[in-house]
Symmetry: C2
Subunit: 339 residues, 2 copies
Amino acid sequence: MVDNYHKRVLLAHGGGGRLMANLIADKILPRFANETLQKLLDAATVHVGDANVLFTTDSFVIKPLFFHGGDIGKLAVCGTVNDLAVAGARPVALSLALIIEEGFEMELLDRILDSAAHAARAVGVAVVAGDTKVVERGAADGIFITTAGIGERIADLSTDAIEAGDVIIINGTIGDHGMAVMSQRKGIEFDTPIQSDCAALSPLTCAVLEAVDGVRFMRDATRGGVAAVLNEIAAAARRDIEITQTKLPVNAPVQAAADTLGFDLLDIANEGKVIMVLAQESADAALKVCTNHELGRDAAIIGRMLESAGPDAIVEMVTAIGGRRVVQMPYGRELPRIC
Amino acid sequence: MVDNYHKRVLLAHGGGGRLMANLIADKILPRFANETLQKLLDAATVHVGDANVLFTTDSFVIKPLFFHGGDIGKLAVCGTVNDLAVAGARPVALSLALIIEEGFEMELLDRILDSAAHAARAVGVAVVAGDTKVVERGAADGIFITTAGIGERIADLSTDAIEAGDVIIINGTIGDHGMAVMSQRKGIEFDTPIQSDCAALSPLTCAVLEAVDGVRFMRDATRGGVAAVLNEIAAAARRDIEITQTKLPVNAPVQAAADTLGFDLLDIANEGKVIMVLAQESADAALKVCTNHELGRDAAIIGRMLESAGPDAIVEMVTAIGGRRVVQMPYGRELPRIC
């Protein structure tokens, strides 16, 4: 197993969990060593002339290409918009690079591009650059899309600003995207299909940042789910986190699907969910902005930052029956090609 | 054939020729309609705060991953650096997004990342953002890399500025990259293998722009080769172009390989060649900057802009034996997965 890990790339290396963190730490950071990359933020700050430009990228390889609540085109736009949004930016422009398998149906390409264009227009972001590559049949699986985005900073967010007593908010129900895709893949049918939460979050994040001081840090909970984000925040802030299971917003059918398939919703990807860490005195105001916004109707305060009690910062959950359990960084093998 | 074109994506849709131009005109521009994208420049100008940021992206799907003179990692860095360079920018930062096939050898990933890091460092560009996705065996062909780049404008270049009498310079021999890859694919062996010209051009373009006024426009001659770039320039400037065959810098073994395989070097991809259009009075000074630079030792004046004689702007070549022939936009099927 160890040997295999060292010699070949595994699916879990792309899963957003521990193995991916190792890959980045071992292979990427030492080679491209620079302060900006080292921070592992959702978007990097680049100085161009007098401006601070936020810059990010993501590739999308989701399977199936069309799912309840979205498709790879919408996802590619929303995913990169969200990386800018949670970094405290107003998204300005996107690039869109397509890798297409020969023989891919034009009608599907039309639908995907329509969807990407609609998603970009809806949040006022221009698609200003692109590229198209076609590979022969069998050399790719339909279509892969890579977006990059640039934005203008409107707030200075950092895990360095996080203090004990800070409050953790999520803007709605967890695990919807991952379970929508997984139940579709497994052919599980529900009376009302589970919908992905795929959405561009910048209208919400900008509204919160404009209305409230005291936002310390935000991150969208994609691959690796809420569990991965909370562990990343705990490690970076060197403080423990306590969350309360009964406070986690959950859609009942999503929970049912997760129970059936044996998944923990904390590990499951979201595509329209942001974790916000705020000063305690700002929490109620921020929660109100969220619950009044269509992207945050089910928002909730789910936990808080503690002083770290041990050598490693950990995430603990007070369970529904009053016990406590550690929420670990997921391994990353749960759901390949979830985004 | 017509039906097939409409219904499915063909390899030639990604070839940099006529079919790709159609795809972009039919599918992309109407959907993402905005002035910046409409210009179809190598990099888009985006206003962030008070700064004009140049922004571009490219996906790389080259096969084989390692070729004489480079590999997909070096290529992915140089390609995006070059799009910024020819747009009149000083490249500042890159993103690097990997799509990797499960089972890909770590040792190859190491070599590719080393090469990308080395290429970026050599031109002083920081890799500040990235993403890693892994797809299951058979869902991709080894590794695909998408880079995006941002840069700072140092010159305002546009085909609108092009006038009759302007001079066309290329910085060296043509077709080296395409023929290096193709001869490797076909298993053709030479005593001295043909080397790709894969190189980051920003040191040369910045040197020319700093030394010389009167640079109207630049474009790197990648997919579709010199023929595609000249046709794009002629169409955008609405002026004919005349080039002289005997002035085109060519490596003898590359010409021999092209003759053997039946290719026209004008249609063949380069990865370290820039076409510059300059005011006549600036040409000699620019040529001198090039020939004194390691990236332009074989630079030559290859032609000039004319008034347009007919309804469509055309590119004509004075052949070695004194005849004239039209240099057409390549169809784009010549060399799939050349970059």
